[in-house]
Amino acid sequence: MSDLDQPPVGAPVDPSGLGPEVRQPWLERYDVAAKAGGLVAPVLTALLAFAVGGLVVLITTGKNPLATYRAIFEGAGFNWFLPWVQGTERQAAAFNMQQTLIITTTLVLTGLAVAFAFRCGLFNIGGQGQYITGAIFAVWIGSSFEGLNPFIHVVFAAVAGALCGALWAGIAGILKATVGAHEVISTIMLNWIAIWIGVFLFGLGGPLQNDRQEFVPVSNDIVEGAKLPVFWGDPVFQGLHIGFFVAIAGLIIYWLILSRTTLGYGVKAVGFNPEAARYGGINVPRNYFLAMAISGAFAGVAGAMDILGWQFRLGQDTVQQATIAFVGIAVALLGRNTAIGVALAALLFGGLLTGTSTRNLDPEIFRPELASNLTLLIQGLVVLFVGADVIVLWLMSRVRRRKPA
């Protein structure tokens, strides 16, 4: 690690992102970074992104970036963790924290959707499409079957969302497994197909458009019984719903599958080196399909949790404008595709998204409309610095060299 004049990659020149059999070079770099840095590399990546973001704030508005970040920190409710925050301030912090955790729930699941496919050497850029198909089915089932047992109703809607996401991603998986179609291209196409299907379904006169409000392009509201119970905060003011535990369960399932099952072993083996895996008797196409399907299931559940937990309806504009599953890419990349990493990165981005929302950021300190774009910038920078990990590795080597001296 200390010698970075040598490229940090043990990657052979040959592997391509396109061939179904060959390993992608960046995966090896992650291994290097993960082994060498553990927490250091991701933290450094995030700090670097925040530093550049702060620079943008300073240059364009002349405001103190630290004050801005502090306002975002408080808008996200992270000060709830500080024991000396008391009284009404603590209540406000608790409320903000609930909002952050609602977003974190979604981000954990969409992050896992990207991370699981990564472990198999696949780049699932189609989380958005899988999220939307999951949300569509959840809202459809949630708004039908009035009077069904609430427990059965919720489980039914969530499982349908998961299956639907799995199916949507499975299309890309099957294409990859059978004809070697590049999963990046097919998942991008599937994203947009899902978006237009959603626009069709909830558009004026569409099959799932609201029965009562004829001129609003939105679905029916889901029935009371299909709403997820709130366990922290006031249900009327969007408290934290039990989907949070689903996300935690998702993290555990992710870890269990990858480290404790034959399936996970196969997936990781294919991710390390498909050619060697095939030689070792692992069914590579089957693993490609399963990895995509499981990824899609995570994203589908994320869509279902958002509908059943706090959105309760799905509108045309949400379908077109939501980017929550794209943030999942940044979450997975920053979290280095580990369960803990995804959880922490999801909390970071969840806080960032909540803290920069119009409702939570003090406009005196920084304009929220600007801040939400700042969030996008920071996401982009995180993805950039993870991609260009050479920069981060170089920085790390500087830090290392100084220490022993």
Binding site: P7, V9, V13, D14, P15, S16, G17, L18, Q24, P25, W26, T60, T61, F123, I125, I171, L175, V179, A181, H182, V184, I185, S186, I188, M189, L190, W192, I193, I195, W196, I197, V199, F200, L201, G203, G205, G206, P207, Q209, Q320, Q321, F326, A330, S372, N373, L374, T375, L376, L377, I378, Q379, G380, L381, V383, L384, V386, G387, A388, V390, I391
Partner: protein, 400 residues
């Protein structure tokens, strides 16, 4: 080139393709006779013509020309479907929706930004660098185009600003994927995020709630006065934006550059086999930098057309996925200029149709917007003969 990228096409005799083209044309005719101005009221005519198209397609398909045979079959089936549906609907409705001159003009308008981005993307991919950041580069072009036109006061300086900004964005992608050998998909994703954040941020910071000023100097239209007496052509070509004509010139130009010049040969060599190209003294890095930066400049032109050519305003995320449609066009057009341009026209037509179809059904019309993505998915799946990318696309090259 043909023998590398299209082994199937290279083996099949040339005559088969002509037959396939006749089949494709017959499918279109079968659909056309049911529409204005002929408006045949019986579906039998459509069926007869389209059946011939399908049979020609099957004949071509089993003789080995799979891609074109499949196109002819698809043309026949789609032609009859549309023709049949048209006979079911009233003549009045048909005449309001199917105004050919307006449809074609609108197709050209929708296709132009796609053509710029797709030709750019084609150069980048031909040199071996995947560019899914086209969307972001278009968005950058759209914003900086209007910013330049506003601050400098003239549209051509706005266009130049857009091109420069697109070049800088592409340079970032180039450094990432060529020198730093980062994963090109991650690099492109980063570009898309950054472009969305940066343009949104600057837009709010500079223009705020009022939006872009309304008196911005836009790219002018070219008025062809001599067409006034031919009303059909006048509606289509009489008043097209300058950028549309640039796009029309760009297509054959890029074909000549790519297939008939030493530079084009180098670009293709670097994309197919960088090591061999390096061995004979071609600068792999130089060519790739040039191609990626060119792709950014062209994509920015497409974006600038949207903001200062078409709408004369900017709003956040205004490209709304057009960069991805352009990417789809590159793949659907098999990494060839005329193929990509034809795909852009097809996708532009589906957008134009989607805009006019609400006469029939408000919601179902939007499904036409999904057509580009469905077709591309079928194309990458190998349904119509595999799309075969340049051999080295997506792979960083390491000088040894």
């Amino acid at each position: 080139m043909t023998s590398i990228a299209l082994p199937i096409a290279a083996r099949a005799p040339r005559g088969l393709r002509a037959v396939a083209w006749i089949g494709i044309a017959l499918g279109l005719i079968g659909c056309w006779i049911a529409l204005p101005p002929i408006t045949a009221r019986s579906w039998v005519w459509s069926l007869v013509v389209c059946l011939i198209a399908v049979m020609l397609g099957i004949g071509v398909l089993i003789r080995g020309e799979r891609r074109f045979g499949a196109f002819a079959i698809a043309s026949g089936v789609l032609g009859f479907t549309v023709g049949y549906l048209a006979t079911l609907s009233g003549v009045g409705k048909l005449e309001t929706v199917v105004v050919w001159s307006a449809l074609i003009a609108s197709t050209l308008r929708f296709a132009t930004p796609l053509v710029f981005a797709a030709i750019g993307g084609m150069f980048s991919e031909r040199s071996g660098v995947t560019n899914i950041g086209l969307e972001g580069m278009m968005l950058i072009g759209a914003f900086f185009g209007i910013l330049g036109a506003d601050k400098f006061g003239t549209w051509w300086l706005g266009l130049l600003t857009a091109i420069a900004a697109g070049a800088v964005t592409a340079l970032l992608h180039a450094v990432l994927s060529i020198h730093l050998r980062a994963d090109q998909i991650i690099g492109g994703t980063a570009i898309n995020f950054l472009a969305l954040g940066l343009t949104g941020y600057l837009y709010i910071d500079i223009y705020g709630a009022e939006g872009t000023p309304t008196d911005i100097s836009g790219i002018p239209s070219v008025n062809l006065g001599f067409l006034d007496s031919f009303s059909f052509f006048d509606v289509i070509f009489g008043d097209l934006n300058l950028m549309i004509w640039f796009a029309v010139i760009l297509i054959p130009l890029s074909w000549v550059v790519l297939f008939k010049t030493p530079l084009g040969l180098r670009i293709r060599a670097v994309g197919e086999h960088p090591k061999a190209a390096d061995t004979v003294g071609i600068s792999v890095y130089g060519i790739r930098y040039g191609a990626v930066i060119l792709s950014g400049m062209l994509a920015a032109c497409g974006g600038a057309y949207l903001s200062i050519g078409f709408l004369n305003s900017f709003n956040e995320n205004m490209t709304a996925g057009r960069g991805f449609i352009a990417l789809a066009a590159v793949i659907f057009g098999n990494w060839r200029p005329f193929g990509a341009a034809a795909a852009c026209l097809l996708f532009g037509f589906s957008s134009a149709l989607a805009q006019r179809l609400p006469e029939y059904s408000d919601s179902a019309a939007v499904l036409f917007q999904a057509l580009p993505y469905v077709l591309t998915l079928i194309a990458v799946a190998g349904g119509v003969g595999r799309s075969i990318p340049p051999a080295a696309v997506g792979r960083p090259y390491k000088k040894s």
